[in-house]
């Protein structure tokens, strides 16, 4: 392995803690991913990406910066990647999925803040995230109350935070707000990069992102087959890497896996037996290395056939219309696409429930596992209301609330096993 120590030092990382983090993630990756049976060969690409997640990819970002490109970090699927790419900047997801530096984070956010937010602070304060340190701009977005208030403090810690407002209703007023915010964001990105938006570069940005979405949606569709040709964990990983990787290379790699899976389907080859209970997971996003619940599900006798999450179909469904003759028309297309995201911060949020039902049918799920991060009020609330609604329509539901710690694995396993016993035919 290449020695990245100098690079990490240059980024100001705390090498000792960072080494420990890489060790833990590497070991977890071994236990969770490499121990799976009969993985598609194409997953080797993602094994490589994961082994170089703080190495080669960071070097690529730094090389891009050398060439004068800018790196923009995001925490949410509401940040329009099309605009970032149009300005020839690089877009990277910064969400973290590990309990790290929480005691430092709690100097800035209340204890009853969700793990996702705490880890954004923890990774920065413990100096272990080379992505955060490589950014020229970090985009915060006013989604839930937890994040909104957290960004007020995060601003002082990172120094390059740009905050974008997000509507809470799918109304005309909400749409107007999102458009105004996207126009403002485009101007800020233009100023940062020195690259003005043009119809050509916007179309190219839209195309690159649409291709990436198309590839991941193609992958999703193949999981409707029985036996399922790829594990839920492996697809979750692809959805997680979606936020870090070079988009064109990512698209090609996912399409290569799809080609391989089509062969598997033709040969009736799967990763689990045909009768294996199929679950859909729904709820809060799962950022790397948050694999806790999917790992329990897939080692307890069931498989995952869909993710209704930001790191899944909530984030990737719906393409942006590339047809338009002016920048304004294209921005309108982008706004239309992003207004369809059914995040739980919206009220009402019927389209999310509809999407869960649609996914359950499409991917032939036997039950839905709702996953909420403790203290995430919007998703915890919807898991109650949606849970009742789904059960009343005959779709079994398991509601789980957890965080990034490992101490509740035993209890989670009991619940998940009991749920699998319930949905087993």
């Amino acid at each position: 392995m290449t020695d990245y120590k100098e690079m990490w030092k240059g980024l100001g990382l705390d090498l000792e803690t960072h080494d420990a983090v890489l060790d833990i993630v590497g070991k977890a990756y071994q236990d969770v991913f490499l121990s799976q049976n009969n993985r598609p060969k194409g997953m080797e690409y993602f094994d490589f990406v994961m082994s170089e997640i703080h190495g080669l990819r960071i070097k690529e970002l730094l090389d891009a910066k050398q060439e004068g490109r800018k790196v923009i970090g995001t925490f949410c699927v509401f940040v329009p990647e099309e605009i970032v790419l149009a300005a020839n900047a690089v877009c990277v997801g910064l969400c973290a999925g590990a309990e790290l530096g929480f005691e430092l984070a709690e100097q800035y956010v209340p204890r009853n803040t969700c793990s996702l937010i705490k880890s954004a602070f923890g990774f920065k304060l413990a100096k272990v995230c080379p992505y955060i340190e490589s950014t020229d701009m970090i985009v915060g977005e006013n989604t839930c109350d937890g994040k909104k208030k957290a960004y007020e403090s995060y601003k002082d810690i990172v120094g390059n935070l740009y905050v974008m407002d997000i509507p809470q209703t799918k109304s005309q007023a909400g749409r107007n707000l999102l458009k105004a915010e996207f126009v403002k964001f485009a101007a800020a990105v233009g100023e940062l990069t020195g690259n003005k938006l043009t119809v050509e570069n916007l179309k190219k940005g839209i195309e690159i992102v649409n291709n990436k979405r198309n590839a991941i949606l193609r992958l999703a569709k193949l999981r409707a087959h029985n036996p399922v040709p790829i594990s839920g964990l492996d697809v979750l990983l692809a959805n997680q890497v979606y936020f870090y990787d070079n988009p064109e290379r990512f698209t090609a790699s996912v399409n290569a896996i799809c080609d391989e899976l089509e062969q598997r389907i033709a040969n009736k080859v799967g990763v689990f037996n045909e009768g294996t209970p199929r679950t859909l997971i729904s709820g809060c996003p799962m950022a790397v290395p948050n694999w806790k619940i999917p790992h329990i599900i897939e080692t307890s006798g069931a498989t995952i056939v869909g993710e209704e999450m930001c790191t899944g179909e909530r984030g990737t469904q719906n393409l942006t219309n590339v047809n338009g003759n002016t920048i304004d028309e294209l921005i309108d297309n982008i706004v239309d696409r992003y207004m369809k995201i059914d995040c739980a911060i919206f009220t009402p949020n019927q389209s999310r429930l509809d999407h869960i039902k649609e996914m359950a049918t499409k991917y032939k799920a036997d039950g839905v596992i709702n996953y909420s991060l403790q203290f995430c009020q919007p998703y915890s609330h919807e898991s109650m209301t949606f849970g009742k609604e789904l059960e009343s329509e005959g779709i079994p539901v398991l509601n789980l609330e957890t965080d990034y710690s490992q101490e509740d694995v035993g209890q989670l396993k009991t619940r998940i096993e009991a749920f699998i016993e319930r949905i087993k035919k």
Binding site: E407, Q411, E421
Partner: protein, 244 residues
């Protein structure tokens, strides 16, 4: 054919043998830091054809004994269905967690809910509270039953409730009344859990905490109905394993 069931809980281990007609053996023992040793000595000298495990230690046990496993939820559903075919709702309060389960007439699980990850409202919580009041666990329920009134215990977190109880003692509150207040707070919490699965048909109360008389009478009083408690409510999970 004799089937064995073992329920390895956080506080106790339960073993049941069943010959297909009736229960022919049962035993409850305290768990220690060496779970497998306790299991080994409990199974010594017993003859059985197959064994099924449940409880927190089920996977540890299954790896060693080549046993099959089922979840506690399924085990309780089968066990109760065997004792009381009329029961459709089960409340289980064990050492580490509380479960509410609804079942159909065949003992299949319809819905279940469990307490969140802390030990609030569980057997362990009662033990800690009994300790704070210097009661033996066996007399704790009886004392609560005899209380004239209930002191208000607000905190459901084990740690906070303990300090709340200690400050009530310091303020001169009646010991039995505090005991009553603790039981009432757990009952309230258990009913919330039952309401989440939706109470259906007759209710059974199982797990170690079902041996506590105050819990039972308070549950019956609050739910205004009879609640079924088996002779030995601790062994229902192991019984379910021995029948499955």
């Amino acid at each position: 054919m004799i089937k064995a069931g073992v329920d390895i809980g956080s506080r106790t281990i339960k073993v049941v043998l069943h010959d297909g007609q009736r229960k022919i053996h049962s035993e409850v023992r305290e768990n220690t830091f060496n779970t497998l040793e306790v299991c080994k000595s409990m199974l010594e000298g017993l003859n059985y054809d197959s064994i099924t495990a449940t409880g927190y230690g089920r996977h540890l046990f299954a790896d060693r004994y080549n046993a099959t496993t089922i979840s506690e939820i399924k085990a309780f559903a089968i066990g109760i269905n065997n004792c009381y075919p009329n029961v459709r709702t089960i409340l289980d309060i064990g050492g580490q967690d509380t479960k509410a389960i609804t079942i159909d007439e065949k003992g299949n699980v319809k819905r279940f809910e469990m307490n969140d990850k802390c030990a609030a409202g569980t057997g362990r919580f009662l033990e800690i509270m009994a300790m704070a009041l210097r009661y033996e666990i066996d007399e704790f329920g009886e004392k609560a039953t005899h209380a004239k009134e209930a002191a208000k215990v607000n905190s459901m977190c084990t740690v906070f409730a303990e300090s709340e109880v200690i400050s009530q003692i310091a303020n001169g509150a009646n010991r039995e009344n505090i005991a009553r207040g603790i039981h009432e707070s757990i009952v309230k919490r258990s009913i919330m859990l039952l309401n989440r699965v939706g109470i259906d048909g007759d209710i059974a109360f199982v797990g170690g905490v079902a041996k506590n008389s105050a819990m039972l009478s308070l549950l019956e009083k609050n739910l205004k109905r009879k609640i079924y408690v088996p002779d030995n409510p601790q062994i229902i999970g192991a019984l379910g394993c021995a029948i499955v």
